[in-house]
Symmetry: C2
Amino acid sequence: MQQRIRNHLLRSRVLTADEAQTFIQDGMTIGVSGFTRSGDVKAIPRALVDNIRKTENSRQIHLYSGASLGDADSWLSTQHVVDRRSPYQSDPDTRQGINCGEIRYIEQHLSHSAEWFRNEHIDLAIIEAVAITENGGIIPTTSVGNSPVFVQKAKQVIVEINLSMPESLIGIHDIYIPENRPFRTPIGITHVADRIGTPYIPCDPNKIVGIVMTDDPDSPSKIVAPDEETQQMAEYILELLSHEVKQGRLSAKLAPLQSGVGSVANAVFSGLEKSPFNQLEIYTEVMQDAVFQLFDSGKVSFASGCSFTLSESMRDHVLSSLPRYRKQLLLRPQEISNHPEVIRRLGVIAINGALEVDIYGNVNSTHVRGTHVMNGIGGSGDFARNAGLTIFVTKSTAKNGRISSVVPFVSHVDHTEHDVDILVTEQGIADLRGLSPRERAKTIIENLAHPLYKDALRDYFERACVQGGNTPHLLDEALSWHHQFKETGDMRKPVSAMM
Amino acid sequence: MQQRIRNHLLRSRVLTADEAQTFIQDGMTIGVSGFTRSGDVKAIPRALVDNIRKTENSRQIHLYSGASLGDADSWLSTQHVVDRRSPYQSDPDTRQGINCGEIRYIEQHLSHSAEWFRNEHIDLAIIEAVAITENGGIIPTTSVGNSPVFVQKAKQVIVEINLSMPESLIGIHDIYIPENRPFRTPIGITHVADRIGTPYIPCDPNKIVGIVMTDDPDSPSKIVAPDEETQQMAEYILELLSHEVKQGRLSAKLAPLQSGVGSVANAVFSGLEKSPFNQLEIYTEVMQDAVFQLFDSGKVSFASGCSFTLSESMRDHVLSSLPRYRKQLLLRPQEISNHPEVIRRLGVIAINGALEVDIYGNVNSTHVRGTHVMNGIGGSGDFARNAGLTIFVTKSTAKNGRISSVVPFVSHVDHTEHDVDILVTEQGIADLRGLSPRERAKTIIENLAHPLYKDALRDYFERACVQGGNTPHLLDEALSWHHQFKETGDMRKPVSAMM
């Protein structure tokens, strides 16, 4: 315990999780650590839910985090503890609560949330840590997220010290908190590896009202292994990057890479292992398995992110090999990992997943049929808007061909055509840079759409062009594909055929 | 001439406009000065069009600029000279060429365009200037726009020296060009008044192949005077700002202000004249008449922008009073005036116009009925995404009530709900910060919609909620209001009523 709680006064504040959960009062706004299932608080949410179940004494909270928690999101949502949730989630039970209108979801660009929380009242911060320093500094575990702003703003702080997290995590964090406006200065990152902050979250020890010792590992990532189609998409992207190098728009080291969470992004990074590129740098939000495979194969020289989200086997490998990795990686607050200032300065290459794209290149990343949210916009907008090269990927169909991911008009817009340079499906790649909307439409339909839908898209576009406009559309048909799917279960089957 | 062309070797390169236009060859990519009708090239486009008319020897070019030109946009479009146009325009003839598919329009966020041009081939730059320095430096006139990158990239440069522009403009420009990646460093602006560059655009004198002496003033702005409704909207915004000060989220000096081009934005700034706020600062793209009225009334201490766009009477006043104003203002390249890095650092208050908004707060700024572009996204996205407080304004109806500006589903998305804090119509104000989508919908319908449309919006939303989702919609009705207007000329009149 001396190693993990270095401030001796704080050692008397160790509580059980059940004691700690009593600090959570009905109606409170609570900021917790956790980013894409990593470094989230675990014992106190479980104790809270257990207590509510046992006592039938329900409590509802506003739950703010870095991004998605691990299993805690499910426990809390299933027990109806969550009134408001922000800024991101990826849990089926939470999703259900949001879509039925029970949970009020405030989706935010992940780089924006810290600034928003600065103007909010936060009652309590609960932060997972490896250790607490002599002066009260909190050393996070496998993610940083919004924990710095929660600690700064909260009246009270509770720390979960996770003994399953090795002490070799100490030193990999770089905590930088921008000054309050109007005294804010530039963020001094000009290279991926630049350190500009402290290795812990500064905290007045008097604010720490409880410490809970835990031993649970992070919930493992749910990533699916690359399949033939994701590998094909990865190959298109690698060909594009080679072409950019040939054209002199990128150096052989490329530019710092970002990839969204998910299988295609992971497949692209896996594909880099066999690529001619070397000395790669990563400036991303979440480091998935493939980043560590690239370290192991010597392809990557440095990676900066905001969390690790790893499969079970990779997690054990990484945590036991940290002494080797730690000189090559660091974890930053999400305000910094996703900051437009840094992303634009570095000219990041951003690769993110889409649910659907339309013929002009607008992207829906979040809402199925425009209504039901899957996860949330997350950091995709931070990177897409500011990157040097912005790529979105999606398979051309879903549900065995019954859904086309290339549609006349996206049913929800997360990223407008102006923020999309390149689109990729397993059918091909569309380079939209410098094209007018009508040129984009032709390229998207011909290069990306599945043969099942190509003729219907051509037909829509041709008839729309007759009506004119910069982005021709037939407004009475624009969303009919989605409506058809909802009514008939197949985008190809018209509603009238049902009658 | 000695004063205006200080490099004596260059004095031999003075040409007539007709001689200069011969440098423009069919198929060329040409970068010109000009930003919202200010500081644009005038004599050479007119000579080009005259020559084409006379000789019937047509030429087509890719025309890149800062933003909209003055009358030159109309001359060139009417004569079918423009093949591609980027990144912005606001001219009826150009608009018509775009919407009928003749002109290929590459609309861009205005802060993005310089970076894009860095990777493009530019044949010729034509830049309006007050003077040329001893070392070839070009001193722009009433706008800076993308001129620095055009001069840097073009193989040849022609300068229009406009003698109607007073020499007192010299010294008000601050030209900063970011280093090429990966050597780029922070942009050193931490206060609105910070100077970080040179007062001229650096240029190798050998690249200057011609100089044309001109004497035409800028085309005056087309701004409409505030009416009762725009004044009402301005009042709502001023009340909001007072409230923010009371809540401690803003100081009494507010934060640097930005306003889009247009009457409402101008009305808000006019409203500041009678407000309790003092020592205001402006960090904007375009300075309209109201900015100078605020200088005159002592309300504004400093204004930074990328161009002046003034009415005829204000133009004469400003140009003759520059010795008084020049210590309080400066003009930057649009890459800097609109840079996310600076906008977010300063926490700008951004006020921009919308064409229509939907019940969840998505904004359409550009495309009538989702198809026909008016102007372009311009800088609105640069400011909306990165500001400390983002406000959009629109009247609640158009066409004598036949169009509702509050609709179930916007027919084109320029700004997603995540980038919109506050919406304002003459009916009221909607503060959307921290609200879930269903809460946003209620607030928008109740506070912003015109009574003519309120019941229909409530009805749509209630029926959509029955179907569920995070952003409930009825996909078969979502765009029906626009379709009805197209078919019947009135959003309230169903298409079926026509049959």
